[in-house]
Symmetry: C2
Subunit: 355 residues, 2 copies
């Protein structure tokens, strides 16, 4: 945590800033603020060249001090802006343009006159793409929890009558494990499987391929897994398409190396899918961390290059009209070689009957 903030403080000097200010004052924890502090309460983090200050309201003071080490924690009462002005002297101030709304910026400009503001979000976006050892440990744990939940989920699958029931099982298990969700779970059967962002419905699970896309948030870090099961009896053709996709996914995952362009795997998968490539209609993957979508992007136009410590998804899919949808997704860590963190089996599960 300290190292992350120190890295950012180098940029204070490098960019001739007086300080950077990161706010957490909204309903949802701000991703960059949380990334730098692991503290999710209200506050403002001020990073100066040679020190750092965390301003919090009195009711959060004890908790903030316990959570954030190596930072001077100070209280504000009704004098938030006074205290802020006192610590954030100087003209040039770095702000996270990805999190500050136009309304809040009006307030900042009113309260902090005669300042110049600079966008520091690109620095943070790049920094977050490469994970620290601590972050990798947390991400591994998130993935192993979701593996455990998905195992229980598939053992119970034949009991679920509707997509919604199935999705609720996943949500409830996440709560039991003391986790949040990376995103609302997707359970998409029948023609719904052909809609990549299908919302689970209150209607019976249909025959055919059924996509389950699920991730937990453990200590603020996300996991992301997709598996596709078959409800009923798949034809030989169905199995053939599934295995084509599965083998393509495995091959592409294992070919990722540091130094490779992040646009490369998308090309590879298109090549491996052959004629079925035209049924693959979304990006191949995305970085995973405190947010479910971060750098690197595994898209054809991606500019990033793979580095050790990156954690990302590889999730090709085949969606044929309203007839069929299959997607297979893992969360992968690059550590010299790619390591799949979501380890639940990818072999086709055939569910004889549902409900």
């Amino acid at each position: 945590m300290r190292k992350k903030r120190r890295h950012l403080r180098h940029h204070v000097s490098k960019r001739k800033l007086h300080c950077m200010m990161l706010f957490n004052l909204g309903m949802y924890p701000d991703p960059n603020f949380y990334y730098l502090t692991k503290y999710d309460g209200y506050g403002c983090l001020i990073l100066l060249k040679d020190r750092e200050i965390l301003l919090v309201p009195p009711m959060e003071y004890q908790r903030a001090r316990k959570t954030v080490k190596g930072t001077s924690v100070k209280m504000y009462k009704k004098d938030f802006w006074d205290v802020l002005r006192k610590h954030a002297r100087g003209k040039n101030i770095g702000l996270d343009y990805n999190s500050i709304t136009l309304s809040f910026m009006k307030v900042i400009r009113k309260e902090m006159r005669k300042k110049s503001f600079v966008d520091i979000s690109p620095v943070l976006r790049e920094q977050r793409a490469v994970k620290t050892q601590d972050e990798i440990k947390t991400l591994k744990k998130a993935c192993s929890i979701s593996d455990k939940i998905l195992k229980r989920f598939f053992s119970s699958f034949s009991r679920f009558r509707t997509e919604k029931q199935a999705a609720q099982f996943l949500e409830t298990e996440a709560v039991k494990e003391g986790c949040g969700l990376s995103f609302p779970p997707i359970v998409a059967s029948g023609s719904g499987a052909a809609e990549p962002h299908h919302a689970p419905k209150d209607t019976p699970i249909k025959k055919g391929f059924c996509i389950i896309d699920f991730g937990v948030k453990y200590n603020g870090y996300c996991s992301d897994t997709t598996r596709t099961v078959y409800v009923g009896k798949p034809s030989e053709k169905d199995k053939e398409i599934y295995n084509l996709l599965l083998n393509a996914q495995k091959d592409v995952v294992s070919s990722v190396r540091p130094g490779m362009r992040c646009s490369e795997p998308h090309k590879m998968i298109m090549h491996k899918l052959g004629d079925y490539g035209r049924y693959f209609i979304h990006g191949l993957g995305h970085g995973v961390g405190v947010e479910i979508h971060e750098l690197p992007n595994l898209k054809p136009k991606s500019k990033e290059v793979f580095e050790n410590g990156m954690v990302f998804t590889v999730e090709p899919g085949v969606y044929i009209g309203s007839r069929l949808g299959i997607r297979i997704e893992d969360t992968v860590l690059l550590d010299a070689r790619p390591k799949v963190l979501t380890r639940i089996s990818k072999d086709l599960r055939i569910i004889k009957k549902s409900g």
Copy 2:
């Protein structure tokens, strides 16, 4: 829904705008976008003087058409900004400054050159403070679901060993009811009860007052209830303070009338709490709707005036150092007279033993 959008479209002419644009492109549904459409997928709503258009990606087209009636739903593919520019002609464009980040504004300015932008968030904030009949129905349902869950919660309370277990029970029940959460549940026992925003801990529930603050999100609308129980045997003094607060809360709730200033109830509660007023350290309440905090504010400096159709909380508390914390909160609808929507009993529950 149509009425709400029509109301906003009046402001297009009134403020000499060509159109308003509301975006929903982030991880969490944008509150104003959802308020106007009840559709939570990606999209952009364009409101013109005489018509309205909802732009959505292909994978959301069917769902958007089913959800949003009275609007022309159109698809975009990779040409999002082209399609947007086609429909949003004219110079003056209204935007919701409460939801657009500085980063996104950079993109908007780049893609929509030579336009003038106007903040429409104040209009929306005011509009949302007074609920429609449909919204009231949904809010009533949210409150009745949370009543049901809290009833089960209190019957099970003596079984919970830790605050976290108790909070997880509430979360799990919300999922079972097909609901989300208004906010992470608060279960604060012992000295934790004296911290208004206490995060549930993995340690045993302590003796003394224990505050439970909980709300569900049903069809996008929030409920908000706080009850305080006593674990162990309360002293006569404890009961006295509890009942002082309870009676003050009831009196203040029942005195609210249309036309009254929203700052008034705070003064009344301070008067009724007498010497204990100095232990009441936060605002008395807030509006409730698609967000858990909206207008009106029931604070000493509040400028709003009560109107029929407003839905808000009344939540006085007494927090004495680290010794004791009590809070009692209802969600209330103003409909000529105040109607308490969260109907679970407020009499002091005494839990002999926990765990």
